[in-house]
Symmetry: C2
Subunit: 194 residues, 2 copies
């Protein structure tokens, strides 16, 4: 039997990661977020920080730059290598148990391979800006600029590897505005759907 | 006090209209769908069928064709005239009472003018195809072709009048896949959020 898996895609600063964690706690199933990062690090031999930072970025300059990139693993660009490791681990997790997986295109990777509930969490810019400053502190860059940058990179990464549009409602079963509804209400809706 | 209004945008054949109707019934508030059409017909002097058919279509050829269109009311293209009537009536409804409004860019028109819960209902192509054949019968055109055509027109209309992207999760508070979740579950989630 296919395992029941909740994939949580999210805008940076929307609290989607927290939603995923609380959903998993409530349902008594594991949440793969940091754990997944650690597994990828172990399997790939790359540093966790590198993966966290680069694992959701498009190969710079697209396939052409990638093809000629000097840094490569087994003939693959590091980004593509990371993608294959990530994909393999996500498929293994899905084989093993019911769980929540945050980010990393798990929605796309597991399509047709598990009993999926695909969730997208977003939130208005001003509320996300407030949240990231509270969580990660101020930087030289305005929080709105940081958010726009992250959004752009995630959308571009998602598009590059899945050929689908990030944040398009039709790609998910449930999309929720955590700013309007609140984290708890999001958790309640998702657990109710499981 | 601003009235609490649920706006339901939907893909053709997703059952979004039915979701809106059932939500309104459950909450004991009016649902403006056919009623809105009748109001627009009365106020504009245009036939209900014309409004239903054309009220969600972009003026053909964009502003240039519109500017030179031979058919006009008070110097406006029929489409733009319809938009102003529709906008005025939606604002009047929002002044008057709590309600559900289906379609017609009410989410955009009422932004900042009411206590909004903005909903988008979508469903996979195959389930929508099955639904429209059951509801509206077969035609010479394949149901998938009819759906793609309608989707394109709605997206284009929405973009033209609101300058926003139709079906982008971030434009709504809740987006639900009625095919995956079922109509009843969608109704339950929305009434629970009201």
């Amino acid at each position: 039997m296919a395992h029941k898996i909740i994939t949580v895609s999210r805008e940076f600063g929307s609290g989607g990661r927290t939603v995923g964690k609380h959903v998993a706690e409530k349902l008594g199933i594991p949440c793969y977020d940091n754990e997944l990062l650690e597994k990828i690090a172990e399997e790939s031999g790359l540093a966790k920080e590198y993966i966290a930072e680069r694992g959701e970025y498009t190969p710079k300059g697209g396939w052409l730059a990638t093809a000629f990139a000097d840094r490569s693993v087994n003939g693959l660009s590091v980004q593509d290598y990371l993608w294959t490791v990530q994909r393999k681990l996500i498929l293994e997790i899905a084989e093993k148990e019911n769980c929540v997986i945050v980010g990393r295109c798990a929605d796309y990777i597991l399509e047709g391979k598990a009993d999926l509930l695909k969730v997208f969490i977003h939130s208005p810019m001003d509320m996300r800006a407030e949240r990231i400053v509270k969580l990660y502190g101020e930087t030289d860059e305005a929080p709105e600029k940081r958010l726009r940058d992250k959004d752009k990179r995630r959308a571009s990464y998602y598009q590059f590897y899945t050929d689908m549009e990030w944040g398009r409602a039709q790609n998910y079963h449930v999309s929720l505005d955590s700013g309007k509804l609140g984290i708890d209400k999001c958790v309640e809706i998702i657990t109710g759907l499981y």
